[in-house]
Symmetry: C2
Subunit: 270 residues, 2 copies
């Protein structure tokens, strides 16, 4: 009997965006226990340097490993870009990011190999999506689009605001006269803008939500490693948040699509 | 002889905004040595909770006190709102914030006592400006305006972008049919938007830049305490930055209005 099957899954993000991944994991693996770390006291990650993001990611991973987890999900594109390789070298459990699953999904559904990725400055500058796509489609036609305001607009509850529409129109200008047929939402905040993006991009363009792809990847990795729980009761969720719990509970609901309970503050660790 | 006169002045901020205060202090007290701490790895402060801001402020103050300073400037409105009183209780040197000097200046120049303050969510929610103004003008007509996007727009170098104009027009709508004659720029990022704000507000409204007021206050506090340096040579500046030095040097130039040299990274302290 493999006692590890009954350990939890750790998920971390700079704050809110990772909840879109959390939701997919909850839906796909309802019997698993999940620990979510949202580093809201230090958000955002997307405009900070590789060294700082790596330091934060290692600290977050250690915090979650201390909860005795069987697998770790880096549910933030910027943290995946700058820390996934190093985390996999350091720690001895399966660690899954959001970039590779998103790239694989895009490569699968694109019919002409012309693929764009929307992301933070950190994610796009890292070129990690580009490299992942090149491995899958050697002659990929790649466009990386930095969208620095979108995270703030989503976190300010401005999804339907004219300023968000103006920003999206500017960021999606590259679509004019382009042959792009697939866009990866390369930031875990962007699924909340999926409808607005689809409307500007038009029906012919397919959007890839890395959160789905990441949850599928987690499931198959757990299967391969015989780590899926055999329990048939619903799993539990626990949230560890470094800034205000009330704000997390309030804003987080829009990301998770469910009320959030069982939140604990942590702060003196860092 | 008072050896303390030759110690430095400490200034801290979440990152870039405090440089507008730094510049005023450099111009007014050119012979003083200044240590500037920019906590860029954890910015912004404006949308985080009082407890987190207090913790960060105490850590920043301890870091600067370790440089042996004779006075400390909290060059961030949100940090002033949530930590100034506590810092003054804990530490045994003069500590100056940006709110009281800004409120005093506004009370001085307003002819009708109708005063608005633009700030982050943290600063406005704290009501610290309102309270400071009430002490000076008991029947003040106060309007606090939360402007959550402006910090991001300034940090993304979008001062002249149509989105910034759209955001400012929305935030300044309260001026329609109002009798406000004075607006306090209650965030150290906002002096970079001074021209744009003045254009929308019109010539009849006076803007208060807390950075000037804060530097004047610092000078008078140093005078009262016989702490002004007697040296007649130019002082030195040193910057301690928790995220990437290059980005700070590049973006910081727009805030300081001068090239920034002598930057050191710190990061393992927190």
């Amino acid at each position: 009997m493999n006692f590890k099957r009954d350990l939890g899954i750790g998920i971390f993000d700079s704050g809110f965006g990772g909840l879109t991944v959390m939701r997919q994991v909850m839906d796909l693996l309802p019997n698993e226990n999940i620990y979510y770390l949202g580093d809201t006291a230090r958000l955002p990650y997307g405009n900070k340097s590789p060294d700082t993001i790596l330091r934060y990611s290692i600290e977050n991973a250690i915090f979650l490993l201390d909860k005795n987890i069987k697998a770790l999900v880096v549910a933030c594109n910027t943290a995946t870009a700058y820390s996934l390789d190093r985390l996999q070298q350091i720690f001895n459990i399966p660690i899954i990011g959001v970039i590779e699953p998103g790239a694989e999904e895009a490569a699968k559904i694109s019919t002409n190999g012309n693929i764009a990725v929307l992301g933070t400055r950190g994610t796009i500058d890292s070129q990690v999506y580009h490299q992942a796509l090149l491995k899958l489609i050697p002659n990929v036609n790649y466009h990386g689009q930095i969208c620095p305001l979108l995270v703030h607009l989503v976190e300010e509850n401005m999804v339907d605001h004219p300023i968000t529409n103006m920003a999206l129109n500017e960021y999606l200008q590259f679509l004019k006269h382009s042959t792009i047929d697939t866009i990866v939402l390369g930031c875990t905040h962007f699924p909340l803008l999926q409808n607005a993006i689809q409307q500007i991009a038009g029906d012919k363009i397919q959007l890839v939500n890395s959160a789905n792809a990441c949850a599928n990847k987690l499931k198959s990795v757990l299967e391969e490693n015989k780590l899926l729980t055999l329990r048939t009761i619903l799993g539990t969720q626990k949230y560890f948040i470094s800034d205000d719990i009330k704000k997390f509970s309030h804003l987080g609901k829009a990301f998770l699509g469910l009320p959030i309970k069982n939140i604990e503050h942590f702060g003196n660790h860092f």
